[in-house]
């Protein structure tokens, strides 16, 4: 009789032991599959969200002192205005809103104000998104709430800024931020006033993303890489958004469930190990007679390890089916946002049929060695 035949007949004879061992591996495999199937959906959804929402970026001169940047709210360094057009014309990056900014804190009318020049927004060709940042005509200014209040400025008033006359186009409502002491003007007007022709100190790119077809690519890394190629003297600051918050949440959940999975796998391994040990005890005399008939230690070990591999394989297949069914049934209830993304992950089956027999064999290793180490002379004398 061939070894596999012996294994199969033994399993059919001791059905309870076989079924309990199988149950352990099916539970572990099903949990693993269910979690990763829903997790994968969540991951794909996050990638999709990031693709749709994109990253909000501030692109500033590479040499910027970041300590001062965060203190002042802008970079003291500048870069060529042409950078924004280079970025706009680059086909590998898509964005919804792109604008060049030059801003500086200045003393005007005896008070500190932020003088901010904004270029008209650039948009990806064919994409009809309304401007997110307001567009300012040359010769006009938008006045922050505090300045307007302090100087009693209204729409239509004219003001002089460092020798150049501007019309107040709009007096902004209170924002409760530094924008209340800000004067917005056209970029080229501010460049002219500050004698910084063709210079900017920030590009604001909203909903910016790379055009990559591989959903598994880390899009932020790719975006940074692409930007570094186009604008080698600039650096990128990410403005956190919902998508990245969701990504952080997913990673946290993955770690949490990762711990649970490890715990479940260890418990199942112990379960299988105990069942195998009971099986070895039950088969003491059988092992003894096999040794008497000339079965080697290796052959005896193969009987137990082979059984473990077989249970592992069946368990992986059943576990994959059960786990996928659970993910498809309950995943959409738990993860409502990612419901439509939950699909069977066939790669988990491939991994399962490799990992599961290995885990089972590992669990059964000690019992198998115990079986091998049994003295047949002792067991054959037992009544």
């Amino acid at each position: 009789m061939r070894t596999f035949g012996l294994i199969l007949k033994e399993m059919l004879e001791r059905k309870l032991n076989f079924l309990l061992s199988l149950l352990a591996i099916v539970i572990a495999a099903a949990l693993f599959v269910a979690f990763f199937t829903t997790g994968e959906a969540s991951k794909n959804e996050t990638i999709r969200l990031m693709r749709d929402i994109g990253f909000n970026l501030r692109i500033i001169p590479e040499k910027t002192n970041m300590e001062k940047f965060w203190q002042r709210g802008y970079s003291e360094e500048t870069m060529p205005e042409s950078h924004v057009y280079e970025l706009a014309s680059y086909e590998g990056i898509s964005y919804a809103h792109l604008t060049a900014i030059l801003q500086k804190k200045v003393i005007w009318q005896g008070r500190e104000v932020f003088l901010t020049g904004i270029a008209p927004e650039l948009a990806t060709p064919g994409r009809k998104k309304p401007p997110m940042i307001f567009s300012i005509e040359r010769g006009n200014v938008y006045i922050g709430f505090e300045i307007a209040q302090g100087l009693d400025l209204k729409k239509g008033d004219t003001i002089d800024i460092f020798g150049k006359t501007f019309t107040v186009f709009h007096s902004l409502s209170e924002s409760g931020s530094e924008d209340d002491i800000r004067i917005y003007a056209h970029l080229h007007d501010v460049q002219s006033v500050l004698n910084m022709e063709n210079r900017i100190n920030e590009i604001k790119a909203l909903q910016c993303l790379c055009i990559a077809h591989d959903t598994n690519t880390n899009s932020l890394s790719l975006l940074r890489y692409q930007l570094a190629r186009i604008l080698p003297d600039a650096k990128v600051i990410l403005i956190q958004n919902i998508a990245s918050a969701r990504e952080s949440q997913r990673i946290m959940a993955e770690r949490y469930f990762g711990f649970i999975i490890i715990f479940v796998v260890v418990v199942c391994m112990a379960w299988i190990g105990i069942l195998a040990m009971l099986n070895v005890r039950e088969r003491r005399q059988e092992i003894g007679i096999m040794r008497a008939l000339g079965y080697s230690s290796t052959k005896i070990a193969v009987l137990f390890l082979g059984k473990a591999v077989f249970i592992g394989l069946i368990g992986a297949i059943l576990g994959f089916g059960l786990g996928t069914a659970l993910a498809l049934k309950f995943g959409p209830v738990i993860f409502k946002v990612t419901a439509s993304m939950i699909t069977p992950q066939i790669k988990l089956l491939y991994w399962g049929v490799i990992a599961s027999p290995a885990v089972c064999s590992l669990s059964v290793f000690i019992p198998a060695m115990t079986a091998v180490a049994q003295d047949p002379a002792v067991t054959l004398r037992e009544e």
Binding site: M1, E286, Y295
Partner: protein
Amino acid sequence: MIMVRLERASKFYRTKHGDVKALDEVNLQFNEGEFAVVRGPSGSGKTTLLLSIGGMLRPTKGQVFINNSDIYTMSERERVAFRAENVGFVFQLFHLVPYLNVIDNVLLPAGVGGSRYSQEEAKDLLNRLDLTERIYHKPAELSAGEKQRTAVARALLKRPRIILADEPTGNLDPENAEEIIRHLAEYHSKGGTVIVVTHGKAADRYASRVVHLKKGHIDSA
């Protein structure tokens, strides 16, 4: 020609209450083609003697030779192969594998002997042992006599040079006991060597020699 030779073979079992001498400096030999009975009371060392001869139990001291080879100087692998090739066992408790039917139990040595043992040979053997109708029955469905005949068939399938039977009739009624001994005698008549350890006297009329064992010593041989 000497088939089995024990030289000052001793076996001690360590227990909580001190060492127990199962065999004590035993010198004994069995010739090829001999039908020997080893008799003695419980605890006299009969089973220990049998398992030592079968390469299953290393003596604490002394040597065991089969065909002039000291079987305990062989490696474990060599001894296992030697046993598979040359020795057949029959036990009092039959030791059939419970999940295999009669023919699969008989063919169990094929698991190490490969295709040398065919289904036809096994069926022929079972026919001779009057087990044809039980061929696909599991041990739990057999009578004690049928179980022991299956065990004998399993031992005979390999056509071993020596059969070691440990109380083969111990669990059988006189009729079945007689039948089992008759099958062993038939094997012996074809040139096989048989050593039967027993309390009973069923084997005496076929035996060419009766060895008496007492407290690990040869009382008479």
